[in-house]
Amino acid sequence: MMDKVLKAWQKIGMFVVLLILVVFFSLTSDKFMTTSNILNILRQVSVVGTAGVGVSFVMISGSTDLSVGSIVALCTVIIYKLVMAGVPVPIVCLIAILIAASCSVINGILANTLQTHPFALTLAMSNVWTGVAMLACGGVVLFGLSEKFTIIAKYQIFGAIPSLIPIFSFLAMIGIFVLSRSYFGRRVYALGGNPEAARLAGIDTKKMTILTHALAGAFYGAAAILYCARTATGDGMSGTSYAYDLITAANLGGITIGGGSGHAYGAILGLIVLQVLTNGLTLLGVSEFYQRIAKGLILIGALTIAMAQRKSANRTDKEIAMIKDKKDN
């Protein structure tokens, strides 16, 4: 019985949580279920979620990236500077994506050569990128990004839906598709599932590490573009909470630390849950300090369930294996 519940939870758990949160906040706050509030949540999800797709790639490949936020932040400053210097918007976007990809590739190269845990490595690099970003922006938030650029987010589809949301949905679908349907995606899972087996199966794991990071970096760059378009600012500190939020979201969504399993849409769903929670609690006037406590506890809850699932899966697996072995003989 318990096993079945846990198995079902793996599939629909986050939907259930989301539904409960939405119902709860709708009943307790009359501001929650308004078009403007829902769109606001989705706009927030769009920016962070785009980076989240990139993080999903890195995490599924068995690595982790604490420098995601600092790379996004660095790119927002660069975008601001370039746009204000009069560089055409499409070229700015291209440059932002290339720079973010390069920063992320540096993580990959370091991971390959230093053979150390990516946790420490990306922690170090996150300091480097934040430092560079702060130097570039002079330590202040750069306001007043030109209309030329913010039009990306201002454009409304069907007269109501801000363009950020469809752009994000499109990018997310690309990410989900690449992970689940391309041979590259298969290799990302192979790399995370068992790196040595992947290597001996004829996969150039070092090249894969670089490519995975490059692709993830491109998503970080896209996130920076959406950030600038939405807020009309360049901010060297803009991404400070990204790594925390995204790793939490990925865990909620079934991407485990260690890699090899989970899906990008799970991470996005996890992120939506986090954003709804933050938004709803804020509307209810719950202080940010309590919100932090709630987020932390939710992560612990998600980890507890993940552990129970693993145990339950192993239990059933053992039984299946024994039945199998009997049949074999």
């Binding site: 298969r186 001996l200 399993s261 199998k324 072995d325």
Partner: protein, 494 residues
């Protein structure tokens, strides 16, 4: 007739949907070495676990040293003198030998603090009991695998063990180390310790045991005196049918040269030269640490090459990674199946197609239909018994897991396949299938490099045998010169 130390009577253990042990009764005499054999899933491990108290049987009783127990727990089992040496050691690398030996035990003469002097002395004494010199103050990670196993045995001795269970103890050891282990077993036997010895290796069973019991499908089949039986008889009992352990004959002659290694060197490989022909099975023999696996990894581009040349069909090649080797038609079935061969949390389909997934894709997108067809082709070819290609590989038996690894390699359509210990830890039936497969591959023109620690396997399958010692080729034997003693001579050359 010596009296019995341990008797299990009517032990039954069921898991949902399966009977792991079915009314098993067996007796073990004082001071005998008693082998237990059976295919994977025969119930050997489950039986051992009931004796050590790791699991509780549904019914039945255990009579040990005159006392009857209906169940044991691990602590009780240790305290009455039952010790186990598992394949994977339960030692702590950062502690000293003596600390490991006395872990969780009180040393006489100490009050509150650990008395290292006494511990080291007692460790030395225990070592002397089995004829080895043990330095209690050494850190465990300084020791070789064989020495660590000795520490495990010593640890059991420190508990005044009366029954020592050894589960596949020879698996991590070299031939020389196995001899040493046999000596220790003999000494323990002389001191009246009963030993239960579980092994897949028939030659060891015949070397070391007094009696041997056979299990099949969770049932006890029979116990025989080792000197009254033979290999074939045991195998037949294990599989419950006539099964000839035979090696298929070569029919088609070998073709032209496909691969030539000249003076290869790398870590653990000093100077290796050989040629491989189309459709040939080239065996590699040698003691553990002789550089066999390392040589294969050099060829496969999985390891850095310091020097030497490699020619593929006459063309000089230099693989910097495994992907280049695979693209040139070389594939590898690795030695460590669980660690390096399978992706346990993925399906059979996923595993069998991961190496060739690029070829099954168009514009980078995997063609799911082609993937399913390819998987089916090789699942059928390998006769992997599974209800569905979506079955996770971790749920398969060892033999079937190995077949999945081979399926993965075959799916790449490689024309040179490296098999590193292809039958390690798999049961007799699956072994036969692997032998037949390797021969069949060679007949169809695929060239095979095969490493095996089981000499019979190398002799039975190979067309020629390269013998390595200390990273060097000591000889390349032609079929007419194949003999276990010759191979061992060359393998132990300095």
């Amino acid at each position: 007739m010596k009296e019995d130390l341990l008797t299990v009577r009517g032990i039954t253990k069921t898991y949902p949907g399966v009977i792991a042990l079915n009314n098993v009764s067996m007796s073990f005499r004082k001071g005998e070495v008693h082998g237990i054999v059976g295919e994977n899933g025969a119930g050997k491990s489950t039986l051992i676990k009931t004796i050590t108290g790791a699991i509780v049987p549904d019914s039945g009783e255990i009579i040990f040293d005159g006392k009857t127990y209906d169940r044991l727990d691990p602590i009780a089992a240790i305290s009455i003198g039952i010790g186990v040496v598992y394949q994977e050691f339960n030692l702590i690398p950062g502690l000293t030998v003596a600390e490991n030996v006395f872990l969780g035990k009180k040393v006489e003469g100490t009050k509150y603090l650990a008395d290292f002097k006494t511990m080291n002395r007692r460790t030395k004494e225990l070592g002397e009991r089995i004829g080895v010199k043990l330095d209690g103050s050494k850190r465990l990670w300084e020791l070789s695998v064989a020495q660590q196993q000795i520490v495990e045995i010593t640890r059991a001795l420190a508990e005044n063990v009366k029954l020592l269970i050894m589960d596949e103890p020879s698996a991590p050891l070299t031939n020389v180390e196995i001899e040493k282990m046999f000596e220790i077993i003999k000494m323990l036997k002389e001191q009246g310790v009963t030993i239960i010895y579980i092994s897949h290796r028939m030659d060891e069973i015949f070397r070391i045991t007094d009696r041997v019991s056979v299990m099949m499908d969770g049932k006890y089949i029979n116990t025989v005196n080792t000197c009254d039986t033979n290999r074939q008889q045991l195998i037949n009992m294990m599989v419950g049918r006539e099964l000839k352990e035979t090696f298929p004959e070569r029919i088609t002659p070998v073709g032209e040269e496909v691969l030539r290694a000249e003076h290869l060197s790398g870590k653990g490989v000093r100077d290796v030269s050989f040629t491989l022909h189309k459709g040939e099975i080239l065996g590699f023999a040698g003691l553990m640490g002789c550089g066999r696996t390392e040589t294969m990894e050099l060829i496969f581009g999985a390891r850095e090459r310091y020097g030497g040349e490699l020619y593929l069909k006459g063309k000089k090649v230099n693989f910097r990674n495994t992907e280049q080797a695979l693209n040139s038609g070389i594939a590898l079935v690795p030695e460590d199946r669980k660690g390096h061969g399978i992706f346990p949390d993925k399906s059979i389909k996923w595993n069998s197609t991961i190496s060739c997934i690029k070829a099954l894709s168009k514009f980078g997108v995997v063609n799911l239909k082609k993937e399913k067809e390819t998987a089916k082709t090789y699942i059928d070819a390998m006769r992997i018994k599974t209800p569905s290609d979506e079955q996770l590989v971790k749920n398969l038996s060892g033999g079937n897991q190995q077949k999945v690894v081979v399926a993965k390699v075959l799916a790449t359509k490689a024309d040179i396949i490296i098999f590193d210990e292809p039958t390690r830890g798999i049961d007799v039936g699956a072994k036969q299938e692997i032998y037949a497969l390797i021969r069949q591959l060679a007949e169809t023109g695929i060239s095979v490099l095969m490493i095996s620690s089981e000499l019979e396997e190398v002799i039975g399958l190979s067309d020629r045998i390269v013998v390595l010692s200390h990273g060097k080729v000591t000889t390349i034997l032609e079929q007419k010169d194949f003999a276990q003693t010759t191979i061992l001579d060359y393998a132990s050359m300095a």
